[in-house]
């Protein structure tokens, strides 16, 4: 009897476990990637870029932190060294609130270059933050800087697509795919194995960058001013987010590779998607958001506030609201002349004027931020198709460098302004007896310096809900697409 007759029938051979197949496919893909010198060089180049970006980011972050801390100290010195003057004059002299730099801005500067770094806190008026750093950057700066976020959001997906575009198409061209399928390998197992290998590649891309980011934050962040645990939590969530972002690109590359007639067609299609996602979608969505949720011009915004303020009396003693307030105050204290009041009427009018202003500013600045939020939500809406639209707000939020974080800072600055106003008006109410009244440095010192604690990771996550949904939607959509695409694979 020949050996051939003794050998068991192929059909009755025990098929290897699915996990074994997946593992074998992943191991083979991984080995091929490691052997491909061009790919290794590409990964090494990307890693170098990320490390350089982190280096620049860390240096810039440290410089800005030093600069703002020194400015805050100098401004405090100016405030406390005011000579004897009327407290209301001191309120007009004002203080500055400087936005502290978020440590994770070294990885993603977010909108920081495009928002003001300081808010002037003065009497009667809520100001917008001023001194946008981007104004000093010149035209060329609009082409961007080397940040870790830029590399991870734009270059890393390209690396993943270049790694994965030939996964199925290349094997189809060489005939290996047909062979594998005819041996009984399930398309789903092939997809899982190849996806596993690509995820490994994405992890290899992310690992050095995030390990270095963890070290940089540990070394540079000041634990006396913020919670290091919170920063590490933010970094861990960021790592997960970027993992999801790149995993979606891995599925996309595999799906397109399975559908395309050859690897060249797969590459062209994937590059076209990458281009649209990285460059076209962000700009078009910004234009769309502007058109659908317009914001007022600075002049319209200030004019609307001025219109509302004109309904209140300010310093105008002939204003009907002033006369009404005077009469109401006289009645309340049971006197008939301002001179007979037991407290300073000027102080009372200043406090009432401030209180009127608080409501007006809350209304207008709140509406403006709501318009920004609507624009941001509109931009993120297509994040499940063009994932950069979800990744950018997610990354900026976790890095503490989005417009919501800026609004939180501006709100805290405004709360401090109100504290100053209330303190000086109270001082006038209780101590001013005539026009020549002045207060001394003890009052300036008693009014605390502006101190701001950035919100915790929970605040960032709550603000990034739509972006998180977009990223998860992107992963689900690409996974389903890849699954559907490989189901079409046939041995013949």
């Amino acid at each position: 009897m020949s050996d051939l007759a003794l050998s068991p029938a192929a059909a009755s051979a025990r098929a290897p476990g699915r996990f074994k197949v997946i593992r074998a496919v992943a191991a083979k893909e991984w080995l091929e990637m490691r052997r491909d010198r061009r790919l290794v060089a590409l990964f090494a180049f990307a890693a170098l870029l990320m490390l350089a970006a982190l280096g620049f980011g860390a240096a810039e972050n440290a410089r800005l932190s030093r600069e703002r801390a020194a400015a805050a100290e100098a401004d405090r010195e100016l405030w406390t060294s005011q000579g004897a003057k009327n407290p209301h004059a001191a309120a007009h002299f004002g203080q500055y609130a400087f936005k502290p730099e978020s440590p994770l801005a070294l990885a993603d500067p977010g909108v920081d270059p495009y928002v003001g770094t300081a808010v002037w806190l003065e009497a009667h008026k809520q100001n917008e933050a001023q001194f946008r750093p981007a104004r000093d950057g010149g035209t060329a700066a609009r082409l961007g800087g080397l940040s870790l976020a830029f590399i991870l959001q734009v270059i890393a997906p390209l690396v993943v697509l270049l790694t994965g575009f030939a996964s199925f198409a290349g094997e189809r061209e060489s005939g290996a795919l047909k062979q594998l399928l005819s041996l009984g390998a399930r398309p789903g197992d092939l997809l899982a194995g190849k996806a596993l290998a690509l995820f490994g590649a994405a992890a290899a891309l992310l690992a050095p960058a995030f390990i270095c980011a963890f070290v940089a934050v540990a070394l540079l962040a000041d634990p006396s001013k913020l919670s290091l645990a919170d920063q590490f939590l933010r970094l861990a969530v960021l790592t997960l987010g970027y993992g999801v972002y790149l995993a979606g690109f891995a599925f996309l590359a595999l799906g397109v590779s399975a559908l395309a007639r050859d690897s060249r067609a797969a590459l062209v299609a994937l590059l076209a998607f990458w281009l649209v996602n990285a460059f076209v979608a962000p700009r078009l969505s910004a234009d769309l958001a502007r058109a659908l949720a317009p914001t007022p011009s600075a002049q319209e915004f200030r004019a609307a506030i001025a219109r509302d303020k004109a309904k209140t009396f300010g310093h105008d003693e002939t204003h009907p609201a002033f006369v009404a307030f005077r009469d109401e105050t006289l009645k309340k204290y049971g006197v008939s002349r301002v001179e007979d009041l037991p407290v300073s009427f000027r102080g009372l009018t200043l406090r009432r004027d401030d209180e009127n202003g608080y409501a007006i500013y809350d209304k207008h600045f709140g509406a403006l931020q709501a318009a920004f939020d609507r624009q941001d939500a509109l931009r993120t809406a297509a994040g499940f198709v063009f994932p950069l639209l979800a990744m950018q707000p997610f990354s900026m939020a976790l890095a503490g460098a989005d417009s919501r974080a800026q609004f939180d800072f501006a709100t805290a600055a405004e709360a401090h302004r109100r504290l100053i106003q209330n303190e000086v008006s109270d001082n006038i109410i209780h101590f001013q007896r005539d026009e020549s009244y002045v207060a001394g440095p003890e009052l300036w010192r008693r009014i605390a310096a502006f101190s701001y604690s950035s919100p915790k990771a929970g605040f960032a996550l709550a603000g990034a809900r739509e972006a998180i949904a977009g990223l998860l939607g992107w992963l689900a959509l690409t996974a389903v697409f890849a699954r559907v695409a490989v189901r079409r694979l046939r041995p013949l």
Binding site: A74, L78, G138
Partner: protein
């Protein structure tokens, strides 16, 4: 010439039948037209902002003149406080009478956003120090600002090269892989010329589409007159030379004799490096080497001047009276003189800090300018912003003219305030005006040379490669 034309005709025929090529070219034209439409919308908004600022200025000054008339005729029921009194030069010059210094959009402003979304196009100049008015920003969602807007400059510098590369990357390699290269070379009387003709057909298509779409868009949205301007000629020159650079690069890589896949990857890599990474790296290196000094210093300097003036108010006033003639002590006049003395001290300090700041920024930008010759994308982007009148040169010029106007404005009001002169109706009719600038010259010669020289070198390299293929 016949071989060249025959090659060109044959390739044009092949291209006209390729659906993907048609789609790419139509998409490029559509993107350019949309970008110019978006640019025209943006310019209209800027014009509205300038017009609104001017209307506000006219209304304010008209109101002051009416109040002045009422006060002079004795019809006013009571004296206004000094900060609302149109006769008070010190207060009026510091805000209520402020003139608008406007930077009106240029005819080709729709081409590039440049710095126009960051720099205010209408600034209310006052007699205070510059920190009081120079940094008033337009309202904009910072997330949208950081994304940038869709403009022709973006389409030209990033999308246009990719279309050129897609068409030109596999002329030789594609024919070699299909097995038609030998036939093409054998059939032509002058194989080199035939190949050059085929290459020209692939290059002419995207360059011509980009040029025609730009001309159509500019004509439709900025007016057909704009096509006859020197600005449009400069725009066309940038489109041509920048396109030729990428075409020469594609031809040079194709001439190396590698496979189509290898050419595609090399060219995409070159695009990523030259158009994305080089500008980012250059910006980061320049910012690291010459960090922009803090604008906060300027404000703190002005505030320090104010506190110092407060501390030695008597000494300052005495010195002031000595320098500016006798003045009565006490009363509102002394208050005015003290305010002016404080303002002047702040003005001097702020001018000093701004000059130092600008010098530091100048060093950073000079380094960026030098390094930008490493990236044709940076050169093209800056050149297009200059053509649009939204580039650095025009904003620098605006700042200089603003500085001169600020001096005139201060002299006009402070001379009257110091002399104790009340503002008159004639004074309001002869307020200094900020003069409008002419059309931006936007020199693009350096950028064209910076792109043209590497183009020539690459073309020479490509020619050698193509010649090697010819039998």
């Amino acid at each position: 010439m016949t071989s060249f034309l025959a090659g060109l005709r044959a390739e044009a025929l092949i291209l006209s039948r390729a659906r993907a090529v048609g789609v790419a070219l139509v998409a490029l034209a559509a993107a350019a037209l949309f970008a110019l439409y978006a640019g025209a919308t943006r310019v209209a908004t800027q014009q509205e902002i300038v017009a609104a600022a001017r209307a506000d200025e006219a209304q304010r000054i008209d109101g002051l003149k009416k109040t002045l008339l009422t006060l002079e005729s004795g019809a006013a029921q009571q004296e206004p406080p000094p900060y609302r009194d149109p006769r008070n030069a010190a207060f009026m010059g510091a805000g209520p009478a402020a003139r608008v210094a406007a930077l009106a959009p240029q005819p080709l402003a729709l081409v590039a956003v440049g710095q126009s979304d960051l720099m205010s196009s209408a600034i209310k100049v006052t007699s205070g120090s510059k920190d009081a008015f120079l940094f008033a920003d337009e309202i904009e969602n910072p997330a949208l600002l950081s994304s940038g807007a869709t403009d022709l400059a973006f389409i030209v510098v990033l999308v246009y090269p990719l279309v050129i590369l897609a068409l030109a990357f596999n002329l030789l390699s594609g024919e070699r892989e299909q097995g038609t290269l030998v036939m093409t070379l054998a059939a032509a009387r002058r194989p080199g010329a035939a190949l050059a003709g085929k290459l020209a057909a692939r290059l002419v298509a995207p360059i011509a589409v980009m040029f025609l779409a730009s001309a159509l868009g500019v004509g439709l949205f900025a007016g057909w007159d704009a096509l006859a301007s020197t600005g449009f000629m400069r725009l066309a020159a940038v489109i041509l030379v920048y396109g030729l650079f990428w075409a020469a690069l594609a031809a040079a890589v194709d001439g190396l004799g590698q496979s189509s896949a290898s050419n595609a990857l090399t060219l995409v890599g070159a695009w990523v490096v030259l158009a994305l990474l080089a500008p980012a790296a250059i910006n980061s290196v320049a910012a690291y080497a010459y960090p922009a000094p803090s604008r906060i210093d300027m404000t703190l300097a002005a505030r320090a001047a104010a506190t110092d003036a407060d501390k030695n108010r008597d000494a300052m006033l005495a010195r002031y009276v000595e320098e500016h003639g006798s003045a009565p002590r006490g009363g509102p006049r002394e208050g005015t003189l003290r305010r002016i003395a404080t303002q002047e001290a702040a003005f001097e300090r702020v001018e000093g800090v701004i000059a130092a700041h600008d010098a530091a920024l100048g060093r950073q930008r000079a380094l960026v300018d030098r390094l930008s010759y490493l990236s044709p994308t940076m050169l093209a982007y800056a050149a297009l912003a200059d053509v649009a009148g939204t580039g650095e040169a025009r904003y620098r010029d605006f700042q200089d003219r603003l500085g001169a106007f600020h001096l005139d404005w201060r002299a006009f009001f402070l001379s009257r305030a110091k002399a104790g002169q009340a503002m008159t109706a004639q004074d309001y009719d002869s307020l200094p005006r900020f003069a409008a600038d002419g059309e931006a010259e936007g020199g693009v010669t350096a950028a064209l040379l910076g792109m043209g020289l590497p183009t020539l070198l690459l073309a020479l390299f490509a020619w050698r490669g193509f010649r090697r293929v010819a039998p």
